[in-house]
Amino acid sequence: MVELALANLASPALLYAGCALGAIGIALALPRKGVSPQIVGALIAGAGLGAMLLAIGIVNPRVLPNYHFYIFGFIALGASLRVITHPRPVYAALYFILTILASAGLYVLMSAEFMAFALIIVYAGAILITYLFVIMLATETPTADAVEALSEYDRYSREPVLGSITGLVLLAGLTTLIGRGVGEMQPASIYTNADRIEWLPRKVEQSLRRAGLMLPDEHIARGEPAANGAPGPLLISLNPGPDGAIVGSVTVAYGQAGTKVISSDDPNWPADLGISNPEGVGFTLLADHPGGIEVAGVILLMAMLGAVVLARRKVQLDEDARRDLMARRQSEQLARGGVNEPFAANTPLAPSTLSGNWEGGAA
């Protein structure tokens, strides 16, 4: 009871303290004018995360995740912290890949192996690479003396404190609500989709053969053919059992008309017979959400078309942007002490990397 009371008392406080620490850390770590102690910030934020996780642990000490969770969690959050704090977009993108990887680890922890790899392939492999391309495409024209100079908008973030406070409140609220139940996770082996093993007769057959329950000349029997001559159903009757294992029986035919029933009571019954993660996802996707797939397809098509249309658009530099650019170049020239040749108001700008586009003439 003492523990419970302590848990009740300490956990919200710890939780909120963790949130606050995290927020302070982020606020410190964000790039800004003056000092932005990123390491200090990161440490504080890490401490905050630790505090939060500790608080969670206190709430329900019986069910703690193993250390992989903590490792992946810290990496994921740390990398995302770097994503938002790193002034250089390229590094941010790279850190994001790290986040993805750590997340994938967490997915694996939760037995979502398929999604973990899909995530890495799609995100890290495709999307983030696109990002990297764009980052390189959309970088300011480097000037002669400041090749590595960061843009002003990368150097300074906007209202880090306010943003952090908002984040703090949000996070505190979210965790409070999340923490209202513990939600212990059952072993992954009792996925309810296991009944769909019936839909995979070939897998059952292979498994049974591997276990030696089915001989090479045997095959799964069929029921009575339908009236129109269609072959009858395969005689598989498998269901998830109470402990997650597959129970039931398979009727096997051999020879001309011989049948036998293989039951799960058989001691040789393969223990690993069941639905794997990709199989389950596939079933769910195709059987339960076929419309969703269509929609996703349409979305992707539209995005592709949109991207094509947008990329082909020819745009001109804005008036004010042009003015800014000119002023900037002028001041750079002056600073360089180079030839004092101010631009005439209507002089076309020197072609830059994108000059082909903004001289194109189409509005």
């Binding site: 848990a7 009740n8 906007r158 209202e159 609220g173 609500l177 209202r180 139940g181 212990e184």
Partner: protein, 779 residues
Amino acid sequence: MSGLAGQLAIMHETLGSLALAAGDAAHAQPRFGTGVGAKFDVPRLFGLIPFIPLLACALCGLCAAMKVKTKLPAAITVGCLLASFGLTIGLYAQVHANPGDFAIIHAFEWINFQWGQSEAQSLTANFSFYADSLTALWMLFVTGLATLIALYASEYMSHDVGQGYCRFFMAFSLFVFSMACLVMGDNLALLFLGWEGVGLCSYLLIGYFYKKPSAVAAAKKAFVVNRIGDLGLSLGVMLAFVQFGSLEYAEIFRKAEPFLALARDGQWQDIPWTVQLIPILLTIGAFGKSAQLPLYVWLPDAMEGPTPVSALIHAATMVTAGVYLVARMFPLFLVSEHALTIVAWGGALTALLAATIGMAQFDIKRIMAYSTVSQLGYMFCGLGVMGVMGGPAHVFTHAFFKAMLFLACGAVMHGFAGQLDLRKLSGLGKMPGWRIVTVAMFVGCINLAGVPFITAGFYSKDTILGDAFANPAMVPIGWILLITAGLTAYYTFRVFFRVFVGPAYYEPGDELHAHDDHSHDHAHANKDHGHDSHGHGHSAWQPHPPGWAINTVLILLTILSFAAIVTVFKADGWLYRMVTNSSAGAGIAADHHHKFFGFDAHAAMKVVSGIVAIAGIAVAFVLHYSGRTSAATSKADSLVPMLGPIPRWAQNKWYVDEFYHFLFVRPLWLLSVVFAAIDKVLVDGLVNVFGWVPKALAKTARPLQNGVLHDYALRMAGGVALLLLIIVLMVNRGDRTSAAASIPPTDNSIGTLPAAPAAVDPIAVSLDPIRAKAQEAVR
């Protein structure tokens, strides 16, 4: 003219045919009653009397639309008015055959509204005409004089043929229609229609020369001042309706009968306040229309109109509408303790004031206007002193001679290019072609001055004076009137002696009115005016004496004004019967036998007022005739310094106009300005403040919409965070309120939200207090 002759014939025929009590007939028979007898029927044909002039108006309008450039409108008007006059004589014959009774001629429904069973729930005011002897009396001279003056105007207005000619006769005919409605209407609403209608026509005709700012201002003034009176009248009408439940005379008189009985016994306290108030309110209306203190100021200015208009509307007929109202409503005036006193005093003071102003004026038309005001005061006195006959009688006689005076003035004005200044005209009688005008003027003057025994004006005025002195309460008024009589005689003959006799001299006026205002008219080609006489300077200018129409009318009026003696010569003569056989005869004081220095008031007045009149004329003779050598000066000028500032004050009309302007017009105007400012600043400002509140809010909130994505996102996130916070707090409260122990800390479910406090429909919740309150109120 045959109509008029017929009238006279009938009059003679009936002289003395009425049985009267012995003694001094004028006040012999004390009677208190409505004076309304039985109802009799007359042919509906007589209902056309008002509508024939309306037809003339419509036809003149048609002429205007067709751009008729002849004297056709005048012909139409004269013809129609003559027809109307003929019908009036017929009506008179009917009325005469039923003395003391009345007839109602229903023309058509006007307002006939009944929304319930009771009397108060119906409002009836039809185009129905009430015919009794008072109506007949008024209609006789209204239509008769209107015919004559229309004839006169056909010549007088001839400059304007093709210009305003149609307009003039339209308004003229419309006036007769309105006046007929006023006089003949059988209910107060129709009277009000006529009342305002004559006001409109007066407005239109005063402003006939609409390019003259003074004419426009005078027209406006006339209308507005009349409206003030009409305000009183309309309130009186409404009060009468609420009091008696009807607007119809017959009904009102019937209902007033019991009050009359009370009034006879002097039991004023038993007569409701409201009943006594009605005549006072009506008096306001009467004083407005008939130009009495304090509302007389419009009438002198009304002389801006063409002279025929002045003669008909502003001297003979319209201005007597007030007298008619009092006479018609006499039963109601009798039941009010103070109404008649107010009438009498108002009349007397006006008479004196107007006479004093008239003495100091130089514009002869204006003098006539003030004399009209003054004489109207006499008429009100005649009614106010409860003499009954005097007022209407004076109206009748005055109508003729005053119309004649105006028409004579008009002839002068017409002939001398608008000259009206008595200092610039002299000895017209000696000029060729002006004899008839001079004679007419003389006859008018002796009537107005009240030269004894030979003039109708003398008798009617004398009746009023006698009545005043006979009424013990009204002796001061008698004295005022007597003084006024002297003044009247003086200023009347001042005009005559200055203008029509003495050395011949004239200066033409600056311009004929018509020429001034219609300088581009086509009347120059008119032979009557001698085209060559204009536009070549004054040296070649010759006065042009009046033509046949004007002369004929003047002659006829001269005859008529003498003929009128017959009607008033005897105290119980035709006029007396015409008046007393109607509602005006409702009450004749029994105790009015006050003696004038031991003599019978009426008899004494015949002498005294005669002497006063002669004296006034004599003074005028001495001051303005004897030894006068030039037009501009007279012996009176030497008297002026002796009187100090008084002549100047009198000449400036005692500054009454300025006083009114200072006291009413200016403050009202300032009030309007203030109101306009208040409306703009305060009322509209307040509205705008309400408009600004959201605007200001928007202005403060607008920076939030700065277009920066971050800020939007931040605010969105903040909003979500805030909502989350609220939810968390709600959930926590729910936890606390519900039994905390019942939820095990290691519940396997993801924290479900606790149930809402009380699951009821939100509308019911929000409205519950109101409903509860309502139920409470029901209980």
